[in-house]
């Protein structure tokens, strides 16, 4: 497993150095290799497919612009994920600001004006859990993740969803490992509470 990762890293480095020489095709290879992970990180951060699509494009474009300045101090994938995370956080801020200005949005029923989840009346029913489809649970989970503050959200996504080691998350977010852990535990607790409120018994 570690070996595979190392090989992937070496291949990345090769492609990156080709890119830095102006080979656009090498960048295309990098896009193909990393787009899925980028997309999933962004999707979990934003919770919206269309937003994610445009954000991933922006992220790759800004990666292309910045690739000449990429020194290889961290892995390319780490560097790329940092771009996606940062852009996502910026986008979330923009959306939040928009929400504040819009009186009420039918498209966004999960977030109330104070950022709390609007309780779905039907979910109060304890028996609901059994009838809920797996997909519904997944949607609820995403809904709970959406309620998290970005700095907790990103840790949860990178650790529990993407499975990055603490060390890499610490590097990516430029925060100490201890902070990563404490934020992760708080994020999990928040999601747990949210889900409990949402669907009753887990």
């Amino acid at each position: 497993m570690k070996k595979e990762k190392q090989i992937a890293k070496d291949e990345d480095e090769e492609l990156v150095s080709l890119c830095q020489k102006g080979e656009v095709d090498a960048f295309e290879a990098l896009v193909r290799r990393h787009q899925k992970r980028m997309f999933n990180i962004a999707f979990r951060m934003l919770g919206d497919y269309d937003e994610t699509t445009s954000l991933v494009q922006d992220a790759f474009l800004s990666a292309y612009r910045g690739i000449k300045g990429f020194r290889g101090e961290s892995a390319f994938s780490t560097w790329l994920c940092r771009i996606a995370i940062n852009l996502s956080k910026n986008r979330l801020q923009q959306l939040k600001a928009q929400l504040r200005h819009e009186a009420f949005s039918l498209d966004d029923p999960l977030l109330s004006d104070d950022g709390q989840i609007k309780i779905d009346p039907a979910s109060g029913d304890p028996s609901a859990l059994e009838v809920l489809e797996k997909k519904d649970i997944q949607q609820k989970v995403q809904g709970c993740i959406n309620t998290l503050d970005p700095e907790f959200k990103e840790v949860l996504i990178l650790r529990d969803i993407q499975g990055f080691p603490y060390e890499e998350i610490s590097e990516m977010l430029r925060i100490p490992e201890g902070t990563v852990k404490s934020r992760l535990f708080r994020a999990r607790a928040s999601v747990k509470d949210c889900l409990k409120k949402f669907i009753g018994d887990l």
Binding site: G22, V24, F27, E28, V31, R32, Q35, K36, F39, N40, F43, R44, Y49, T52, T53, V56, Q57, F60, L61, Y64, R65, I137, Q138, V141, Q142, I145, L156, D160, I161, G163, K181, L184, F185, R188, A189, V191, K192, L195, K196, L202
Partner: protein, 420 residues
Amino acid sequence: MECQQIQERLSAYLEGSVSPAEKALIEEHLKPCQRCQEALADLRKTIEVVQGLPEVEPPAWLTQRVMARVRSEAAPRKTIWERLFYPIPVKLPLEAAGVIAIAVVTIYVFKGIQPEMHLGKAPLEGMRGPTISEVKRPAVPPSSMPEGKTQEKEKAIWGKGIEPKPTQPPEQPMSQGRKEAPAPAPAPSPAPALRYDQVSPSAGEGKRAEPRRELLSDKEEAGSGFDLTKARDELKSGARPAAPQPEALAKKPTGQPATQGQQGAQAPVPAERENRAMSSVGAIVKDESRPESLSATPRGGEAHEERVKEKSDRQALSAAPAAKALAEKRQAAIHLTLTVKDLDAARPEIEKALSQLGGRIIKMETIEGKIVLSAELSSNQVRRLLDRLRDLGELKGGTVNSAAEEGATEMIRIEALRAQ
């Protein structure tokens, strides 16, 4: 430990990142505490659910979309050179500009080559002999040597291919000229012949010109005669130093039979057929306006007859059909010399006068401080032009060919000089 504290540590406990002592403490608490056991279960479940979130598939076109944007970003970074020759959008205008540039240069070069053919300048033909003699100038033997040299040069310039008989003209007429005075002049172009054919039979025309001519003083005549000589010579000499030669030419015929004198001047320059074609026209026009020349030198008339024959013979050899056409087209030529104080100021005035009278400037050139201008003007406007020019400075010449039919187009040559 309170339940609150325990529950805060549960996540770490699940991760296995608590110290053994803490782990024992937590486990000890969990055993009796139902609430904390539930919390642990919920946490496990939560992590499980979160980790179980499925991966989302990005749209299939995502890579293409990204690369399209990346490539459009990369494109402007091409060098200027690459952009100049980028297929269609930029290259086409470049090519068009190139073609236009070549066309313009070609036209310009052609115009530079052709002017000799445009302009008719009147030389002195045989008939002009007496008139030239009127010019009171000391007799100087014709300097045929320099002329001969120039001829060689000109031959070289005009090219061997164009000149069909480069050496014959000078020799033949020279020998003839020695035997009999009115021997045919060597003017080689067929154009004068044609002109002469048209003009010579109409003796009446000459008479009609008579009253008009009387209006002009002898001085003017002499002046105009001299100018003609000069003008012709300038045409011949082209870029040669113009100043001394006209004099030499003008002097040549003095005391000699007119035609012979003419030969002396003409013989060495057979290479200039085109010029001569036009020059001859001028000469004949002169003849028209000076019928007394005709009567005074009957031999001159004979000379013409003979020359006409010879010219006709050579007509076929003429390599200048354009000149021929021009010669046929021009009805007459009027030669004017205008002495002005300020040449630069006079130039636009002349142009203005011409254009106001409906004239068309054919050629204009500035040679060593003088302006030589050729134009076409309707014959009934000529007198008005003369008046206009007199306002500008001292005008010499201007013998109007009243024989020309009404509404015919006159060739006018104006030479503007700076007053000394």
